[in-house]
């Protein structure tokens, strides 16, 4: 894990309000695993005070990509960076996805910006695995396909693909997919993860979900990011024990 003064390389605008930035951050790039995140200082001043956590969206050589929408002041500042600016990045953080093991098809379930960690997972998936990506959004402009493969789309308003939530779409595909030979990787807003968790438990899918929550440090010293353990025995820390959890092990 590094505190790396990284070079901002470029920014690309994907769909409405979605930005993809590329930074030169060789140490983090070399050690990063899919599902991990970085905690980024978005300004050179003390404002905003805290770093902002972002999933590692992709790695190309010594470059990392992050994907985000403009949410508040932190992401606004990030979106106004220029090539050559220095960005102070802490990472890679968290556990990441476990993509090894005995399964045939990786089923990616991404809701909105929950797509962020999956280009990197798609790229690093063991060669013997198939990939099947379920990508949802409120409407066609919120569907983020960048870096994904074998994509099946749902939108809440039906403006593209299946009309309904991404987990509803998943349900319609269960027969197509062999429950024993898949591993599910989910990321997205909490209600979606909850639905996915239920679906996975019902069908006994092997399912890893990446969760989000407010964070200060991102590496285990503030205890600010608890998630309740499913067994009732206290809390895990999203930043250190997660952000990826076995869907059976946490309460959402």
């Amino acid at each position: 894990m590094y505190i790396e003064k990284s070079r901002f390389e470029s920014i690309e605008h994907l769909e409405h309000n979605i930005h993809l930035i590329k930074v030169y951050s060789p140490s983090i790039a070399r050690s990063a695993k899919p599902g991990q995140f970085c905690n980024i200082k978005v300004s050179d001043t003390d404002f905003p005070l805290l770093r902002r956590p972002f999933s590692i969206c992709n790695v190309e050589g010594e470059h990392i990509f992050f994907m985000f929408d403009i949410h508040g002041e932190g992401t606004l500042l990030l979106a106004t960076k220029k090539a050559g600016d220095e960005l102070d990045i802490l990472g890679p953080l968290g556990n990441g996805f476990d993509s090894n093991g005995d399964y045939q098809t990786a089923v990616i379930v991404a809701g909105g910006l929950g797509a962020a960690p999956f280009p990197f997972l798609t790229k690093r998936l063991p060669a013997d695995k198939n990939i099947y990506s379920l990508v949802g959004g409120r409407s066609l402009h919120q569907v983020i396909k960048w870096g994904l493969k074998n994509i099946h789309v749902s939108t809440d308003d039906g403006s593209e693909g299946f009309k309904g939530t991404i987990v509803e779409l998943f349900k319609t595909k269960i027969d197509e997919l062999d429950g024993k030979k898949i591993r599910v990787f989910g990321c997205g807003p909490n209600p979606m993860l909850k639905a996915l968790q239920e679906l996975s438990i019902e069908n006994n899918f092997d399912c890893q979900i990446s969760v989000e929550c407010a964070m200060a440090c991102g590496f285990g010293i503030c205890q600010g990011c608890p998630i309740e353990n499913a067994d009732g025995g206290g809390y895990s820390l999203v930043c250190k024990d997660g952000p990826v959890f076995d869907a059976k092990k946490v309460k959402l």
């Binding site: 200060a216 600010g224 990011c225 608890p226």
Partner: protein, 305 residues
């Protein structure tokens, strides 16, 4: 190369330099050790310990505010027993001064924790966090009751010869009255300040952003308040002060020392720059060199009012 004497004394405690990491912002040392060399610091203060483990408050525990953050961690900690067994071995290897912070819900619990930990050679000093709700006396904080702080100091003093630091609450009118009673009851030093009580609401759900309703405000926002508290103690009571509150860089640290602090603690900044402590030690050294200060202890309370 440099001749600046950075070491300071707090009671019988000798610190390599006046820069400590504050309780609750450094865990038990292991995670932050990946980013910084803790042996270069004056010491670290461990997360508040209670007799039994506490799982802490439900989420959301933290929220950012203008130049600050609120936290309501709820004193989540492993309890003294696990601490001694599992955490001390690693802490011993750090080659830094170890100050153990204790938080309890009764005077007996403070005493009990101190007794157990007093036997551990690795622990060089105790910092007593009095900003905890007092279960027996109706949930008010000990920290806001000068008599309670006096009694805690007295009783804990009776069971340890190690340096005893009382960490004061800022949520009081005259913090120097509390420092006075600490001195009278045999405490070696005071830490000032702990967090200010604050809250924040989501205006759409009308719920507090922090599940616990209120939280403790830390960070640069509180620095002016913390400095005023340190100065007030310094002008009224002859006791070593450990200054805390919103320190982001060596300039802030120097400001606290000038305002009366013998040493300082870094809290929130550790979350943003886990190497800040080491950088601040360097910065203070250079500052002393450039302003012809031979011993950093000469800077303490060097204010010109």
């Amino acid at each position: 190369m440099s001749n600046v004497e950075l070491s300071v004394k707090i009671g019988s405690l000798e610190l390599k330099n006046p820069v400590l990491l504050a309780s609750g912002t450094v865990g038990y040392g292991n995670e932050i050790a990946q980013y910084t060399d803790l042996s270069k610091l004056g010491g670290i203060v461990t997360k508040s310990l209670s007799l039994k483990p506490r799982k802490g408050n439900p989420p959301q525990r933290i929220v950012e505010t203008p130049s600050g953050m609120l936290n309501a961690i709820g004193l989540a900690n492993v309890g003294v027993e696990v601490f001694v067994k599992e955490k001390i071995p690693f802490l011993k290897e750090l080659n830094t001064t170890l100050i153990c912070n204790i938080a309890a819900s009764s005077i007996e619990e403070y005493v009990e924790c101190t007794k157990i930990l007093d036997g551990e050679d690795a622990i060089q000093a105790f910092e007593i966090n009095v900003s905890c709700p007092n279960v027996k006396e109706g949930g008010l904080e000990f920290g806001n009751d000068v008599n309670a702080v006096g009694r805690i100091t007295e009783k804990v003093r009776a069971v340890t010869k190690k340096t005893l630091i009382i960490k004061l609450s800022p949520n009081v009118s005259r913090i120097s009255d509390f420092a006075k009673v600490v001195k009278e009851e045999g405490g070696d030093a005071v830490s000032a300040i702990n967090t200010l009580v604050g809250t924040s609401f989501n205006i759409f759900t009308r719920k507090p952003k922090i599940k616990n309703i209120t939280g403790g405000l830390s960070g640069p926002a509180i620095k002016p308040v913390a400095l005023a508290k340190v100065l007030e103690i310094s002008r009224n009571v002859d006791i070593p002060i450990i200054g805390i509150g919103g320190i982001m860089n060596w300039k802030d640290a120097a400001e606290f020392i000038i305002a009366g602090a013998a040493a300082v603690q870094l809290g929130t900044i550790n979350f943003i720059n886990p190497n800040a402590g080491v950088e601040i030690v360097e910065g203070l050294k250079t500052f002393c060199e450039q302003t012809s200060v031979n011993k950093i202890s000469e800077l303490t309370a060097s204010y010109q009012l």
